[in-house]
């Protein structure tokens, strides 16, 4: 009855249904949403197929009554804010750009170009997420796959250092645990699921085997598994060291060697703890070792909706995935120096542009203190601790709800967005394109003091 009543209400309103829309809340980037959109009120009333996080994402992104642009808390036009943002970035000695994981690839590419023109620094939220895994990929390599392959083939699924039940709720149902695939026709019955975590989280509910190492001992457990896979003996002391009994490791080794298609999904339980890239590297090396016996892959479980796109776009344009510096006129990659926690904590940055992220809330105290002391340009859809300290603030349209564009799923598959309703606020792409254009003009002026004729010559050779 209630459903019928809702249907009648929907029919009487100016409603639209968007099929196969994409949720950009997390790295699963589920593209099977059916969105019911109230075009009069500009809000999504129902998001069919969405998980608990997706439902909140679609329901809470409504049009807020706020200025599109502000300078020092005072409302200005978008053009005035673009001018001030460009001047701020061009006049800095060490300008940094950070964020990018919650915007489209089309916007990300302009952010990279801006950093190039101003000889600045560009970094993404990857550096405080799977940045260590990015280092491990370079050192060890990655035996990889798409989530579609996992769905159709994997009969052994191992989650290590993550809690998808709360962070990526549809990872189990759509990709890796319960879906029926070509070679897994019975879904969950055809798979063994292993969860390795120091806590018993809500994800334990789907696990056939739960392994709880001592905190900070993931590397040791992974290295012991590598030894066992290679046929080396391991002492019984391993339990005392890692909290995991030898028979549990031996059993897991046999399961890994004898499965038809195995996958290791890994989370920030590995990258944010002691060992960092060594932990990720050990896991990637284990997956590689196992290919002597069967087919085995490893994939990081990525957090934000387009953090994988940020890695791809920054790597495509600079050669490196994050932590890139242009101060010498060409890109240099050095995590620990050009990553944003470091550029802020060390006091290097003298201006910042923060795009679709909130370091003012999530960064270490010392980094936040420095951010408070430099001019900051912020692009965000909502008010945050970072927008509170902005010199120039843009309120922007929400990607995937108000804008189209492209994002990358956590398995590096690109997915188009289908917007639900228009926003009065500008898109990140439009703002960044505007800043890029102005920054280009200002940097040319600096380079070619000969005046307009010099600038015109360069612009003619290398137009925007």
């Amino acid at each position: 009855m209630a459903e019928e009543a809702n249907k009648k209400t929907e029919e009487s309103k100016n409603m639209k249904i968007v099929e196969n829309a994409t949720c950009t809340f997390c790295g699963c980037v589920c593209d099977d949403m059916e969105l019911h959109v109230d075009l009069d009120e500009k809000r999504i009333t129902k998001a069919k197929n969405a998980c608990v996080l997706g439902r909140a994402w679609f329901a809470e992104h409504v049009i807020e009554d706020a200025p599109a642009a502000m300078i020092d808390g005072k409302e200005v036009t978008v053009d005035e804010a673009i001018e001030e943002a460009a001047q701020t970035l061009v006049n800095a000695k060490f300008p940094i750009t950070y964020g990018l994981s919650d915007t489209t690839c089309e916007a990300q590419k302009h952010a990279v170009a801006i950093s190039d023109y101003i000889k600045g620094n560009i970094d993404t939220t990857t550096s405080v997420c799977h940045g260590p895994s990015g280092l491990a990929f370079q050192g060890v390599g990655e035996s990889t796959s798409t989530l579609g392959e996992v769905k159709n083939r994997a009969d052994l699924v191992i989650y290590w250092g993550g809690n998808p039940a709360e962070s990526h709720p549809r990872h189990f149902g759509r990709y890796a645990v319960t879906p029926k695939g070509m070679f897994t026709p019975n879904g969950k019955k055809d798979r063994t699921v292993v969860l390795v975590d120091v806590r018993k989280t809500k994800s334990a509910g789907v696990a056939d085997i739960l392994i709880k190492p001592k905190p900070g001992k993931d590397f040791e457990v992974l290295w012991a598994l590598r030894a066992l896979v290679k046929g080396n003996e391991i002492s019984n002391d391993i339990e005392q060291e890692t909290g995991v009994p030898l028979e549990v490791l031996t059993d897991l080794t046999e399961r890994m060697k004898n499965c038809r298609y195995g996958v290791l999904f890994f989370g920030m339980g590995l990258t944010m703890t002691r060992g960092r890239h060594f932990n990720s590297g050990a896991l990637l090396a284990l997956a590689t070792d196992l290919n002597e016996y069967t087919h085995f892959v490893a994939k990081p479980v990525r957090g934000h909706g387009n953090v994988t796109g940020a890695d791809n776009v920054v790597a495509w344009q600079t050669g490196y995935p994050f932590g890139v510096n242009f101060s010498r006129g060409y890109p240099r990659f050095n995590p620990g120096e050009f990553t944003t926690v470091d550029t802020l904590s060390n006091g290097d940055a003298d201006a910042a542009m923060i795009i679709a992220s909130d370091p003012g809330s999530n960064f270490p105290k010392k980094a936040i203190e420095h951010l408070k002391n430099i001019p900051v340009v912020v692009l965000d859809t909502k008010s945050t601790e970072t927008t509170k300290l902005a010199h120039v603030a843009f309120k922007t349209a929400t990607y995937g709800i108000n804008t189209g564009g492209t994002v990358y799923r956590m398995d590096d598959v690109s997915i188009p967005l289908r917007p639900a309703f228009e926003s009065p606020f500008p898109e990140d792409e439009v703002i960044l394109k505007g800043i890029k254009k102005r920054v280009r003009e200002l940097t040319l002026k600096k380079k070619h003091s000969g005046g307009a004729s010099g600038e015109a010559k360069v612009a003619a050779v290398n137009p925007l």
Binding site: V128, T273, R274, G303, G336, P364, K365
Partner: protein, 115 residues
């Protein structure tokens, strides 16, 4: 009296849904200020759900409310809190040349805050 325990900040469903409402809203502030703690540890410290505790380390300090968890879900000496401004107060800025600050497994002193 203070006790040394290991703090693990991480994601939770409630943190995910409340951040969509807005990070400056009350719900998000409440979720990211709620510390999950082993029930036996709470008994030993004379704490009940909702009591305030001070977490501190060499980096900083923060005051949060505690919520008991069964010992089989959260081991003795272990604490969990959804990521947010309170957990950032305790995070070191040293990334050891990696770009990543140690954001989990932080040793902290836990002290009951008298009302």
């Amino acid at each position: 009296m203070s006790n040394k325990m290991m703090l693990i900040p991480g994601r939770s469903s409630k943190q995910g849904t409340s951040l969509n409402q807005g990070k400056l809203k009350e719900e998000y502030q409440k979720v990211t200020s709620t510390l999950e703690m082993n029930k036996d540890d709470m008994d030993k410290m004379g704490l009940i759900d909702g009591d305030k505790v001070k977490l501190s380390n060499e980096v900083g300090e923060t005051i949060v409310s505690c919520l008991g968890k069964k010992p089989e879900d959260l081991s003795e000496g272990m604490l969990f809190i959804p990521y947010g401004p309170p957990s950032s107060q305790l995070m070191t800025s040293d990334t050891a040349g990696s770009g990543m600050p140690l954001s989990k497994h932080m040793m902290v002193d836990v002290e009951k805050v008298k009302n």
